[in-house]
């Protein structure tokens, strides 16, 4: 074991990377090798390290120094995203890259807008209630204590009373309202729709430990240099390192190795110089998100698992979901200046649940979005067909526009999937091919949602309203379920096929609701960590599958987070 010194490596404007970080040699066998140090991987590493396990987290991207690596600049933030080649197709192909995939320690939580609503209780019972999609193998009530815990840990700012789903309040106070949030609240109020403002968002409205409060500069999705917006890079990874975890950056996992006994024994990965290494581990957790997770498992195909590791069901890569993310833009006579304040700061979930009067199942949320100039220009190109002088003209009016998004539930479909393409990436690994098709229910939902949000925009007083079709977020493709014939992992993220191989990230979600997935992914990671801790060495030495609930641990949170915040209303 050697020590690496990271003196002066900044995580936000006040915090520094704990030094030194433990470093394991490849030949050393660790307890858990986690692939991907993002939303789930960061929380898992932190919990498991605190419980005393030997942890290495492999991260394909860099270990960000937020002061040296990040900028208050749209174009200069390109490296935060997973920019490596992926092929996208189907009837409604998804844009990938900047839209939904992070690379680097913190993963997607580095560039999320940080909306942090919970899923509703109905999200866990979609098949039972609506005869579409799937049921989860757990209920909302299993996850609720973890929602509450993570809302304190990251923490979430928002209203004292959030009226939808299972009503609740937030530990940190709501943020002041920006111009776009004001438009959303005004439009909803005119139509008699409830809305909330100032959250729920994982951005600090007051300082918290060694993290300062928000400065409202609007560069949330470019990586928060301030350290006010939560990412596991600053919320959980420092504590993981403090407790002996190694976060090994610039290490691209290539293949998970399966031993003769039917258990995995480590991960083959490629370092920044293209050299191959093998990290031995007693168990492996894949936390690579909805494309890289199935890709790695598919690329790990071997004798006995010819169609990919943990794919006896044939469902690995299937039931990939994105949410409808139509952006409705409205031009107002008065100035809005949409670049100020966090893009994520007001929402309504009035249309979240199934309404039998409509001709489709499930629903959507209405949320503020805050594109900066280049992104806004692209939206105007798509929404209005603007180019040339027309584009110059509409862009000169950017400060008069407000943008509000639909966040709509698209159901899990077998034909929406991740497979391997023939093409290879810079590491010589076959790249992912993503296929996406909208189905009838999805199209009706999008059409309805788009119209409602345009009505909100008109009601707010816009003199011109246009919209752009797009998608947000990615989940599914290694879904959890009780039946090994129709799912990849069980309710704790353990693969049905291999007792010491786990998946824990957005890819295990059976359905996605109309809530941003980040908080749910972190809550699931904390729950899986509790399970692994409770199981102890049994994970490493036994093939027995214990399905008993572990019980929540309240003593594993990062510093400053226990019992912080306002008393809860609900």
């Amino acid at each position: 074991m050697s020590m690496l010194n990271h003196h002066g490596h900044r995580l936000g404007s006040m915090q520094t990377l704990p030094a030194p970080m433990r470093k394991y040699a490849d030949r050393e066998t660790v307890d858990y090798c986690i692939v991907g140090a993002g939303s789930a991987g960061g929380v898992l590493a932190q919990r498991l390290a605190r419980a005393g396990f030997r942890i290495v987290a492999l991260e394909a991207g860099p270990f960000w120094d937020t002061e040296k690596d990040w900028v208050s600049d749209e174009r200069g933030s390109h490296e935060l995203y997973w920019n490596d080649l992926r092929i996208t197709g189907g009837k409604d192909p998804l844009a990938l890259g900047a839209n939904n995939s992070g690379k680097g320690v913190g993963g997607g939580s580095v560039h999320w807008a940080a909306f942090a609503p919970r899923f509703h209780p109905s999200d866990f019972r979609v098949y039972s209630e609506d005869s579409v999609g799937a049921d989860w193998p757990i209920s909302y009530w299993d996850l609720k204590p973890y929602y509450e815990l993570l809302e304190q840990e990251i923490p979430v700012a928002g209203p004292a009373w959030f009226p939808w789903g299972d009503p609740h309040g937030y530990p940190y106070g709501p943020h002041p309202l920006g111009g776009v949030g004001d438009v959303l609240v005004r439009g909803c109020a005119k139509l008699g729709l409830r809305s909330v403002a100032g959250g729920p968002v994982a951005i600090l409205s007051a300082s918290h430990g060694d993290r300062p409060h928000c400065i409202y500069r609007g560069f949330c999705i470019q990586g928060c240099k301030v350290g006010a917006k939560a990412s596991t890079l600053i919320t959980h990874v420092p504590d993981a390192i403090d407790h002996g975890a190694e976060i090994r950056a610039l290490s691209m996992a290539a293949r998970i190795s399966l031993h003769d006994d039917g258990r995995v024994d480590g991960v083959l990965y490629i370092d920044r110089d293209g050299n191959e290494h093998f990290q031995r581990a007693r168990a492996v957790i894949v936390s690579g998100y909805a494309i890289e997770t199935p890709r790695l498992l598919l690329n790990s195909a071997c004798s006995g698992h010819r169609h990919g590791l943990a794919n006896s069901s044939g469902t690995l890569g299937q039931y990939l979901m994105a949410q409808a993310g139509n952006v409705v833009a409205g031009r107002f006579d008065e100035l809005i200046r949409l670049y100020k304040a966090p893009p994520a700061h007001a929402l309504s979930e009035e249309f979240y649940e199934t309404d039998k009067r409509r001709d489709f199942a499930r629903g959507f949320a209405i949320q503020t979005v805050g594109p900066l100039p280049a992104a806004f220009a692209k939206q105007m190109m798509n929404a209005m067909g603007a180019w040339g002088w027309g584009l110059r003209r509409v862009m000169m009016d950017m400060n008069h526009w407000a943008t509000i998004g639909v966040l709509g539930e698209i159901l899990p479909w077998e034909d929406n999937r991740v497979e391997l393409a023939e093409e290879k990436d810079q590491y010589g690994l076959r790249v992912a091919k993503v296929t996406f098709n909208l189905h009838d229910n999805d199209k009706k939902l999008i059409e309805f949602g788009k119209k409602r949000v345009m009505e909100v925009m008109w009601a707010a007083g816009a003199e011109q309203v246009v919209q752009e079709s797009r998608y947000a977020h990615l989940v599914g493709a290694a879904r959890m379920g009780s039946d090994p014939a129709t799912s990849v992992v069980d309710k704790f993220g353990r693969t049905h096929d291999i007792p010491n191989l786990f998946v824990c990230d957005g890819s295990i979600l059976p359905t996605q609701g109309s809530a941003n997935p980040g908080l749910t992914i972190q809550a699931l990671a904390a729950r899986t960590a509790d399970y692994l801790i409770k199981q102890g060495d049994a994970i490493f030495f036994s093939n027995r599958r214990d399905q008993c609930e572990p019980g929540i641990r309240y003593d594993l949170s990062p510093p400053y987070t226990n019992f912080k915040g306002n008393p809860r209303v609900a």
Partner: protein, 250 residues
């Protein structure tokens, strides 16, 4: 190389050769750069002061691309020393083979897409007007480009059988607007506050300016009289079915 797109319509204010078009006269993001963090200051300053050399395109291709780009994001209202470099940014991206994280299954790789697209545009110009694209009048250049924008290439060209025209148009136009609206002079034009760390903003509501921002001062201006790229009706939906954009997360 620059082709001015005149005459302007007779009404409205004179717009040619402005140091700073737009409605925020006197506003300068770069004047604030001492208030920015060091990394951001370096990145943005370099964008202004160090225009990357052409390394991907041949000089002939670069000349053609410049003519195209000058119509996709026209800058005829900007003074010669205040033109925002667009084609060098595209050349640099392709030289470094910087990807945006995906490729549509029906598209060739970006480098090949650009080479094919340029070839098609030049051959369309030859076929329709019997001149290379760069020699055409601005109006004729716009006729060709608008046909790509509308998804109905006129004249038809075999390259658009193998490469969907709407995807090529999106690729080209997104690269153009990314280069233009990433430049601090464009921020000044549209009244965008620019980098704001560590200072931040304090006036969030009602579109009010920070003390270092300025109020909007609107005036009328006209695009060139023969231009095809003005919006026909405000907010009229585009003719073609548009693909989704690249972009940012929500």
């Amino acid at each position: 190389m620059k082709q001015k797109s005149y005459p302007l319509r007779p009404t409205g204010g004179e717009i040619r050769d402005l140091a700073q078009p737009g409605y925020y006269s006197g506003f300068s993001t770069l004047a604030q750069k001492k208030k920015w963090d060091e990394t951001t200051r370096q990145v943005v300053t370099e964008r202004v002061e160090k225009v990357p050399p052409l390394r991907f395109f041949s000089s002939g291709e670069a000349e053609l691309l410049t003519a195209i780009v000058s119509r996709v994001i026209p800058q005829d209202d900007r003074a010669a020393d205040r033109m925002i470099p667009v084609h060098p940014a595209i050349d640099e991206r392709l030289f470094k083979n910087e990807l945006n994280g995906f490729r549509y299954e029906d598209m060739p790789p970006d480098r090949e897409a650009y080479r094919l697209g340029l070839k098609a545009i030049d051959e369309m110009a030859q076929k329709r007007f019997h001149e290379p694209f760069v020699s055409l009048t601005v109006h004729r250049q716009e006729l060709i480009l608008k046909s790509l924008h509308d998804g109905k290439p006129d004249p038809a060209h075999r390259i658009w059988q193998r490469m969907p025209v709407h995807r090529f148009w999106t690729l080209l136009a997104e690269d153009c607007v990314t280069a233009y609206y990433s430049h601090p002079w464009a921020w000044d034009e549209i009244g965008f506050g620019g980098p704001a760390y560590p200072r931040g903003y304090m006036r969030l509501e009602n579109g009010l300016p920070e003390p270092w921002e300025v109020d909007e001062q609107r005036y009328d201006w006209n695009a060139p009289v023969d231009s095809l790229s003005e919006l026909d009706e405000q907010g009229a939906p585009p003719e073609q079915v548009l693909p989704q954009a690249h972009g940012s997360s929500s």
